[in-house]
Amino acid sequence: MTAKATGKQNSFLSGLLHNQLLIPIAALLLLTIFNLIADPSFFRISLGYNSDGNPVLSGYLISIIDYGSELAILAIGMTLVTAASGGQDISVGAGIAIAGSVLLRVLCGTESRPETLQAPVFVAFIVCCIVAMIFGAFNGALVAFFKIQPMVATLILFTAGRSIAAWINNNELPIVSEKSFTYFGGYLPGIPIPTPFFIALLCFVITWAVLKFTNLGLYVQAVGINEKTSRLNGLNPELIKFAVYILLGLCVAVCGLIKVSRLSTINYSVIAKDIEMDAILAVALGGNALSGGKFNMGASILGAYVIQFLTTTLYKFDVQSDALSAYKAVVVILLVVLSAPVFREKITGLFRRLRAGKAAA
């Protein structure tokens, strides 16, 4: 009787410890509690009006879901790429610069500061998606067909991407004056919640549907874990790897739209700087193995918001500028260590020994 109960408890505990969502959720909780103690007003959300007279909600939480959107969207693509190819795409930041540049190029035509848009935003976005997917395909082709290490393959665009972005617009810095273009990175008239959040939400829903109604998840994991077996089971590992890089390209295009829309302009050298590292970190924080294989999409997305939560918290506490990255690094190391399977294994062992000790006593 007792033995049975212990067994149940044991499996519950280890089930919890083995759940990938545990770490990002725990990190969120920890950050929440920390902020709650330090300053309960952290969670206050207030309704105000922006300079255009639109109602907007503001508060830290709104900022987090707003600015975390791009990272969360990227995390989707990065998770798939990581799972299928066992490596990461480090060119997404440069990719966003290219996507944004293409978008502005189509919107502004040859003038850098047109009075009116030269093409509808929708058309520009489609072109931007196509270009971003072509660049994704380039990375994918190198990884899938030429078997180049993902980091090395994407190093090419990482290095050259921002120059390409500048070249697309002849080194000009176009500025869009059209108000409707700011909707994507700002607010839709009359809706007080930032649009990037809706875009991210839409991406999550689409991703969920794709994972639910196709075999993408199964195929990607199978290829990531054992390519040879996958082939013998009728899969085409090259094609699948190639495809996930194109999907990541699509995510990059969406991020490009949001980023460029936020400020209606672009700065090739700093736009989305270092975002690739944060995206990879989001995947790692979600407890996904960076060497590929099984993945948990929800955990990655949560991981992305954890990173944004952390960033906002650090800004809030006015951490000294020169020490900012150090603080971030410490927290990140802690989280990554906690989410490492080895560590969880150890904790499980510790619990068992404790219980054994108790039983003996």
């Binding site: 300079s51 120059s163 020169d322």
Partner: protein, 340 residues
């Protein structure tokens, strides 16, 4: 399968081609003559009175400032103006040194250098000296003996900062509550511009509400200011160390419906004098923009003229005039002339 592979190869080739084109167009690290000084009359140029200069600069894509700088140099050192110029762009010190060696071998008369890194230039500059090539540094200084170059034309970042802070002081606000958006920590511009503010704030008893690095990045600046607004901090000055960060800050202000600009609640200050920033200034949305002068060619040509005439230079280090623009007094002419 075969088709896919073919596709892959074609894609790769196309992209490589595209990249090469990109490089060729904008960020050539080679030393080809530019269009302006193209080689149509090259045979004639040797031995005539064209002055041969080799210009080593950073990548024009680095920033708007650099683009303006490069365009200025390209426009000045033309055959029409009596120069035969060669350009080399790189963000890497080693590549720059290689380019310098090549220019020395080509026996240019002047070597104009904006070094990527301060160290490592001694030996190559020594070579230049031996070969009789005169070296003029612009925009950035290096750690080398002063004997090795003729002149160094630089911006004084601390002075830029001081000009801005003096302007701010002259506004005579009843109290100063400042959000300070810093550039990448440790860069010369950040150190100079931060130093001036920090010193004056301490002396005058100004309150620095928030001091964060946004790493020259508009989005980060937007987030930082957003966070300050979210925590209900009171502030009436945004001191952003470049225009991009000022723009990001303004985006956050707009979102929270906080008025900014001439005669409004918050004073917005930026640096670098981007054309769009000066336009904001002229429209009264911002209050101040400090110049970081990229137009060094006039200083350089002046020095070259003096040296050609055999005159002696008064001083090695020449600090450029740098203006600060006030929204109240800026004119369209200023925007066109100084906007980069």
């Amino acid at each position: 399968m075969k088709l896919k592979k073919m596709l892959g190869i074609i894609l790769t080739a196309a992209l490589c081609g595209g990249m090469l084109a990109a490089c060729g167009d904008s960020s050539s690290t080679g030393t080809a003559n530019t269009g302006d000084s193209s080689s149509a009359e090259k045979p004639a140029s040797t031995g005539t009175d064209l002055i041969r200069v080799g210009i080593i600069n950073n990548d024009p894509n680095e920033s708007g400032y650099r683009t303006a700088n490069v365009n200025d140099l390209k426009a000045t050192f033309t055959e029409a103006n009596g120069y035969e110029a060669q350009f080399s762009y790189s963000l890497k010190n080693e590549e720059q040194i290689q380019a310098a060696q090549k220019f020395i071998q080509d026996e240019v008369d002047y070597l104009l250098l904006s070094a990527a890194d301060t160290a490592g230039w001694d030996s190559v500059l020594q070579d230049a000296k031996t070969a009789g090539v005169k070296v003029i540094l612009f925009d950035r200084t290096i750690d080398a003996s002063e004997d090795l170059y003729e002149a160094s034309i630089v911006s004084d970042m601390a002075k830029e900062g001081q000009t801005a802070v003096d302007w701010l002081k002259a506004q005579n606000l009843s109290d100063y509550k400042i959000i300070h958006l810093q550039g990448v920590m440790g860069s010369a511009a950040q150190k100079g511009r931060s130093g001036a503010l920090t010193d004056t704030a301490a002396a005058e008893g100004w309150e620095i509400v928030s001091e964060q690095t946004a790493e020259w990045n508009a989005e980060k600046a937007q987030q930082i200011v957003q966070t300050a607004i979210d925590s209900n901090k009171e502030f009436n000055v945004i001191y952003a160390e470049n225009d991009d960060m000022a723009k990001g800050a303004v985006a956050a202000l707009d979102k929270a419906n906080i008025s900014h600009g001439v005669g409004k609640d918050v004073i917005v200050m930026g640096f670098d004098c981007n054309k769009w920033a000066l336009e904001e200034l002229k429209a009264g949305n911002w209050n101040y923009d400090g110049q970081c002068n990229p137009f060094q060619s006039s200083y350089i040509t002046e020095i070259i003229k003096k040296l050609e005439a055999g005159e002696k230079l008064d001083q090695k280090t020449i600090i450029m005039d740098e203006k600060g623009f006030d929204a109240a007094t800026i004119t369209q002419e200023d925007v066109d002339k100084y906007g980069i």
